[in-house]
Every structure is written in structure tokens, then in C-alpha cells.
């Protein structure tokens, strides 16, 4: 299109411009990675890559047809097999896209199920603390280094089998990087997945709790002494002091 726009008829120039455009295409499609060099690239940023798969069909449609008498379109015979092979390959790619998308959804479903069951057990522990009511603020003490269920990795023999690093990593959700995040995560997940409204301890309350001897003597979840009532807050400890 550029060539025809500027009426470039020299074959060498045409080839150079086309080659330059082709070379620039990957950068254009991943431009965010270029201008936001320090940001991490993410699958969400790269939908533009789909254009690569549409280009051959745009070109085929535009340049391998000729208009016959009466306005009907017909293919030029010299691209006969290329067109057919591309169609077959695109069918395979569409099938792969369908499979991989559903694998991602499947993993999201598995993570949700695992998380819901984990939160069920977690909330059951809160409920069993003496003096706990639904008005009692909760706190999950975490430093993000102890990951419950850390052995649940990629490629393990789940039904159906999960193959390859498709989309999500396989961990229970809600194990935040610090106590504040883990506590808010627990509240959100208990509310959304179990339908139970809970209050959370403030950042200051959590800091106070962590200074107490009662907290320091606590075990790490799921140990029997990992859930306690401290300063009127129902606390579950996920911070492995041995790691610290």
C-alpha cells in the first residue's frame, strides 16, 4: 500500500521498503516493551501479535484475486497450493488457540476450587478460636515466603493433565506478600467464595500483635497452635519464623 501510495515503481526500492517494514513489524507490535523498557512484559500487552496471523490472509485476499467479467472474483492460479496450505495451517492454529484458551480457563477453575477449599479450612480454624464471632477482626500474618501448597507445581498429574506453563502458576490464591495483603486477600476470598462477611485488623493492630509473646509462640499454619485470639483479633500465622 505504501509503495502504491508513493507510486514507487523501482523494484529494488520496493524490496528495501518492504523488508524494512517487515523488520520493523515485531517492534511495532511489541511497542510497549520498547517504550516501557523497565516494565515487565505481560501476556495482556501482546494481543497485537495476532496481526501476524492475519497478514497472510489480508495479502492473499488483496493480491491473489483478480476481478473477472461481471464483477466476480476468482483466484490467480499461481497461489493455488499456498492458499490451501495456509487455510489448513490456520485451522490447526485456531484449534490450538481453542485448546490453550480452554486450558487457561481450566487452570483458573482448578485454582478457584483449590482456593475455595483452602479458605473453607482457614475459616473453620477462625471459627474454632474461643470467643470468635463474625464481628471479630481477622488477621493473616504472612511474609510471602512461606507458601502453603508450594508443592503444587506445573505438570503434575492432575486430571486432566496440565501440560506446560499455560497462563497461571499453580498455587492457591490469597497468600499475599505481607500480612496486610494476606489479610485483605483472606477477607475478599472468604466473602466472595464462601459468602461470609468478615472484618479485618488494621496495619497497626497487626504490628502490635507481632510484638506479643503470644504471637511469637505460635506455630505455622496448619499446625494446631497456628490459630489464636490475640488482643481481640483472630490470628492465623503463616509466617515461618524459621525461614526468617
Amino acid at each position: 500500500m505504501v509503495l502504491s501510495m508513493f507510486r514507487i515503481k523501482n523494484k529494488l526500492y520496493s524490496v528495501i521498503i518492504a523488508a524494512a517494514a517487515a523488520a520493523l513489524l515485531p517492534m511495532a507490535l511489541n511497542f510497549i516493551d520498547f517504550i516501557g523498557f523497565k516494565t515487565s512484559s505481560n501476556a495482556l500487552n501482546i494481543y497485537a501479535v495476532v496481526i501476524i496471523f492475519t497478514v497472510p490472509f489480508v495479502i492473499i485476499d488483496r493480491y491473489t484475486y483478480r476481478i473477472m467479467g461481471g464483477g466476480t472474483k476468482t483466484h490467480k492460479s499461481n497461489f493455488f497450493f499456498s492458499r490451501r496450505i495456509l487455510t489448513i495451517l490456520s485451522a490447526i492454529l485456531i484449534g490450538y488457540n481453542f485448546w490453550t484458551t480452554n486450558m487457561v480457563y481450566f487452570k483458573a477453575d482448578v485454582i478457584k476450587t483449590f482456593t475455595m477449599n483452602f479458605e473453607n479450612r482457614l475459616f473453620s480454624r477462625f471459627e474454632q478460636i474461643e470467643g470468635f464471632t463474625l464481628d471479630t477482626p481477622i488477621a493473616v500474618i504472612s511474609d510471602g515466603r512461606y507458601v502453603y501448597g508450594k508443592d503444587i507445581g506445573e505438570n503434575y498429574d492432575l486430571f486432566p493433565k496440565i501440560k506446560g506453563n499455560v497462563g497461571f502458576r499453580f498455587n492457591i490464591m490469597g497468600l499475599g506478600i505481607n500480612s496486610q495483603v494476606a489479610t485483605i486477600d483472606a477477607k475478599i476470598l472468604i466473602e466472595n467464595l464462601l459468602g461470609i462477611s468478615v472484618n479485618t485488623a488494621t496495619e497497626e493492630q497487626i504490628e502490635e500483635i507481632m510484638k506479643t509473646d503470644e504471637y511469637k509462640s505460635m506455630g505455622v499454619y496448619p499446625a494446631f497452635d497456628s490459630a489464636k485470639m490475640i488482643n481481640g483479633v483472630a490470628v492465623i500465622n503463616m509466617c515461618d519464623k524459621e525461614i526468617n
Binding site: T113, N117, R125, P222, A223, F224
Partner: protein
């Protein structure tokens, strides 16, 4: 060789094929999706499936060596896509085999085939849920080849062997369709033609068996005694009368939900209105068949043979009930054929082409045809309902079981000294637990009181099959914890469990959910489900 010409010819044939069958393809997809989408949107399975989540035991030893084309590598929705494609070709093969001209009857046959509840029931065995429709396709194509081409029984025999190596019982589908074709031959041709066709079908079955057995021999498979697979076809003479009676009684039991033979069982719940519909459908089918025979110009001997073949039909369709030691609902897909036969006959003998409208209709059996269409709509509706009730029960079963294991594991977690490296043990007397939970009619919304044959409908994971090692509950429940709760935990060995059972600590344990039913013994987290006579 002009490749371009070949490619163009191929394209044209594919296009013509699609254009000729697009209506049937569309309706097959619609009925399949509406009926089965529930199951394929989740990860449901029945009690037996728990055995196989991570194990592929006894798949080969059960003689199903062609199984495993997908295993568990695909998410359920992909398996569903494969089922749709396989069902489309199975339906088209049946329609082509009998040259069905009426679009309405074609759609009805397609709908009956894809909604038949045996299919949904079979899917719940997730260890093999990718095999059934492929076995069906092979079985139908085998007959199609043998019927269509003079020496098609050779290729058909290989296809039949493939079907046998997926799920043996689908041979009944092949045998059933062979019988229907032979009945039509009896009506339309003389005895010599019928005899030749019968020989071709016999060759098909024999070649199928030879190729199948050759596969077993080449792969060196030793057949297990599960469901009498190793002794299939070897029947003591003294047992023949009882097995024949059983084959017939199970056939009628399937449609009436009556236990004619012990230890058979009601496979599906048949409400009285559906039973009445079945009876009317059977009577009208009989009327259609008798009229077709009466109007044919064949000799009396042919007519007599047709009656005999019809009487043999239940036996042929439930051949596994005769040849195998025990039968199962999954083996009964061939029972769909009686629902198809009247439409084949109506299409063949009571339709005239309306040249102006290019449709098939006619005044012969005017009311009978219409009543049959209405009845078939009710039967398709019942199939849809009963299949989805089954899926609903699987969903309830899964939810109940997941909730139970969440509570169960929470008890383990609270034991002093428990970590995620502590082995677990479930001490269960499978039968005792099973007796309490089988077919319980408790009120679930929607009410699942109906005796649709998914047992263990309270929770699953505690039935210990007779052909499984002892303490299998521990084995499969640790798999269940991994797959449904995301907990990877070691399990106690059989020897460790035996040792635990000898200890005084164990003997003083209560029965779950007693407060003292979960304990740490010898470094193993133990949950007890056996009543040792303690009050707890």
C-alpha cells in the same frame, strides 16, 4: 498426476458432502450440545473414576488396547468436540446405510442417537470417557463398509476390531444394525441375496474378532477376570439357558426399570408416563413392521424368518448379557436401535415423494407416522431429562465429596505434629460404608430421589471394589485430595495400616465424625470409619 485437479476434486467433494448433510450436522450438534454440555463444563466423575484419576490400571488387561488416544491430556471441552465430530459421522453413517430420505426422520434418528442416556452414563466413567463415541463410530462404519461394498467386510472387520479394542460391547451395535439390514433384505429380496449378505456380515464379525484377538496376541496382553473379560464367549453348556433368559430379561428390564434378573438392576428411572409412551411406541412400531411385511411380496418362508429374526433381536442387542459374566449400563448403547427401526421402516415403505415440494410424505399410515413423531419427541425429551439428571447427580456427588474432604482434611490439619509430609490413612470397611450410602433418597434440590443409576450419591471415595487392593480408599482418596483440593500428601502403605489396626490407640478410636475418630498413630494421620464398638 495432476495434484491441482485432485485438490479441486477433493474440495468439491467436501463441499458437496457438507451441503448435502448440513441440516443433519446442524441438528446433531444442537442436540449433542444441549444434552451433554453440562457434563463437559466441569470435572465430574463417578465412584469408579476415583480409581483411575492417576492410574490406568486394567485398561490394557481389559482388552481395550486401542484406548488411550487422548487419555487425560485434554480438557473436557476438547473431548466434547471430539465426541461431537464422532457422533456426526456415526449419525451420517446410519442415515446413509438405510438411505433415509425424510429430513424429519433423519433429525429424529440423530436426536435419539445423541441423547440416548447410556451415552451420558458412559461419560461419567472419566477414565474412558473419550472412547465411547469413537467405538460407536467404528462399529457403525464397520457395518456400513460390509453393506456397501462387496468385499467391504475386510475393511469393516478391521474397523470392528478397532471398536472392540476401545469398548467391546459396541459390537452389539454392529450386530444390531446387521440384523436390521437383513430384515430389510428379507422383505425386499429373495433368499439367495439374503444368504449372501448374511455371509458377508458373518465374515465381518469373524474378521473383526480375529484382528482383535491378533492385537491382543501381538501386544502380549493377559486379559483380567474383571467382568468376566478373560472368559468372554466361553460359556458352560449348563449356563446357556440361564444366560439367554438373562439377556432377554435385562433388555426388557432396561425399558421398564424392573429387575427381572438378579443381580441386575434398574438402569434408569422410568416414570409411569414414559413407560406408557414406551408401550405405545412399541405397539405402533409393531404395527409399522407388520404392515411393511404384509405389503411385501415375499414368500411365506421369508415372513416366518423375519418374525424369528425380530424375536432374536433383544438377544442380539444384549449379546454381552449372554457372552460376558456381568453386564453394565455402558454396554447397552445398542438398545437405541429399537427406537430407530420404526423410522427406517416408515421412511422406506410409507413415504412418497412430493415432486412439487421436493419433500417426502404420503397418506400411507398417515396417523401412525404422526403419532410416532410425537412419541419420539417425548422420548427425546425424556432422554434429555434423564441424562441431565444424571449429570446433576454427578455434580451433587462432586460437591458433597469435595465439601466432605475439606472438613476431613481440616481434621487432619489440626492434629498435633501434622505437616504436609505426614502420611494419611483412611481406615474403611468399604461394604459397611457403602451400605449406608448407596441409593440414599435424601432431599436435594432438585430432588434426586429418582433411581437414576449413579450410586454412592452421598459422597464418593469409600467403596472398595472387590478387584482392588485392600485399603484402596486411602489410595484413591489421596488422589482425590490432590485433584480436587490441591493437596499433595503421602499415603500410608498397606503394611502401615495393618500395623495401625493392631494398636490399642486405634482400637479405642471412635467412628468419623466423632471427636476421637481422627488421630496421629505411629506418625500417620488416621481417620477411622469402622465401628470398633467404642462410644466415641
Amino acid at each position: 498426476m495432476d495434484l491441482k485437479k485432485l485438490a479441486l476434486n477433493f474440495e468439491n467433494k467436501v463441499r458437496d458432502f457438507f451441503n448435502a448433510h448440513k441440516t443433519i450436522i446442524f441438528w446433531t450438534v444442537v442436540f449433542t450440545v444441549f444434552t451433554h454440555i453440562y457434563f463437559f463444563m466441569g470435572r465430574y466423575g463417578n465412584e469408579d473414576s476415583r480409581f483411575y484419576i492417576n492410574e490406568t490400571v486394567s485398561i490394557f488387561s481389559s482388552g481395550r488396547y486401542f484406548y488411550g488416544h487422548t487419555k487425560f491430556d485434554f480438557v473436557p471441552i476438547i473431548i466434547f468436540l471430539l465426541h461431537i465430530v464422532e457422533l456426526i459421522f456415526s449419525v451420517l453413517a446410519v442415515l446413509s446405510m438405510f438411505r433415509i430420505k425424510s429430513k424429519l426422520y433423519s433429525i429424529i434418528i440423530a436426536a435419539i442417537m445423541v441423547t440416548f442416556p447410556v451415552l451420558g452414563y458412559s461419560f461419567s466413567y472419566i477414565q474412558m470417557y473419550d472412547t465411547y463415541t469413537l467405538a460407536l463410530l467404528f462399529s457403525v462404519l464397520a457395518v456400513y463398509c460390509a453393506d456397501r461394498w462387496k468385499y467391504g467386510f475386510f475393511g469393516g472387520g478391521v474397523l470392528l476390531a478397532c471398536g472392540l479394542a476401545l469398548y467391546q460391547a459396541y459390537i452389539e451395535v454392529s450386530m444390531g444394525f446387521c440384523m436390521v439390514i437383513l430384515i430389510i433384505e428379507f422383505i425386499e429380496n429373495d433368499m439367495r441375496d439374503v444368504f449372501i449378505k448374511a455371509l458377508r456380515f458373518a465374515a465381518l464379525i469373524i474378521i473383526g474378532f480375529i484382528v482383535y484377538r491378533a492385537g491382543i496376541w501381538i501386544l502380549g496382553i493377559e486379559l483380567s477376570n474383571y467382568a468376566g473379560i478373560d472368559s468372554m464367549g466361553v460359556i458352560p453348556i449348563s449356563e446357556i439357558p440361564a444366560r439367554v433368559i438373562k439377556a432377554y430379561s435385562d433388555f426388557y428390564g432396561f425399558f421398564t426399570a424392573i429387575d427381572f434378573s438378579v443381580p441386575s438392576m434398574s438402569f434408569f428411572y422410568i416414570p409411569i408416563p414414559v413407560f406408557v409412551v414406551y408401550v405405545i411406541f412399541a405397539l405402533f412400531s409393531l404395527r409399522i413392521i407388520l404392515k411393511a411385511i404384509k405389503e411385501s411380496k415375499v414368500k411365506l418362508i421369508n415372513k416366518a424368518v423375519i418374525v424369528i429374526v425380530f424375536l432374536l433381536m433383544p438377544f442380539i442387542l444384549n449379546f454381552m448379557g449372554f457372552a460376558a459374566l456381568s453386564i453394565h449400563c455402558c454396554m447397552m448403547y445398542s438398545f437405541v436401535i429399537p427406537f430407530i427401526i420404526p423410522f427406517i421402516f416408515m421412511d422406506r415403505y410409507f413415504m412418497d415423494k412430493d415432486v412439487n415440494k421436493k419433500t417426502y410424505s404420503g397418506n400411507k399410515c398417515f396417523w401412525v407416522k404422526r403419532v410416532m413423531v410425537v412419541l419420539s419427541a417425548i422420548i427425546i425429551g425424556y432422554n434429555f431429562w434423564t441424562t441431565n439428571l444424571l449429570y446433576f447427580k454427578l455434580d451433587v456427588l462432586k460437591t458433597n465429596t469435595v465439601s466432605f474432604f475439606t472438613r476431613m482434611y481440616s481434621r487432619f490439619e489440626q492434629l498435633e505434629g501434622f505437616t504436609d509430609k505426614t502420611p494419611i490413612a483412611f481406615i474403611v470397611d468399604g461394604k459397611e460404608f457403602l451400605d449406608k450410602s448407596v441409593n440414599q433418597s435424601y432431599a436435594v434440590f432438585p430432588n434426586t430421589k429418582t433411581l437414576l443409576m449413579i450410586r454412592y450419591n452421598v459422597i464418593s471415595g469409600f467403596a472398595e471394589g472387590t478387584h482392588k487392593p485392600p485399603y484402596y480408599a486411602t489410595f484413591k482418596n489421596s488422589d482425590f485430595l490432590k485433584n480436587l483440593l490441591g493437596i499433595i500428601i503421602p499415603r500410608a502403605s498397606t503394611e502401615q495400616i495393618e500395623e495401625i489396626k493392631k494398636t490399642d490407640e486405634y482400637k479405642s478410636m471412635g467412628v468419623y465424625p466423632d471427636y476421637d475418630s481422627v488421630k496421629m498413630i505411629n506418625g500417620i494421620a488416621v481417620a477411622n470409619f469402622i465401628d470398633n464398638g467404642n462410644d466415641g
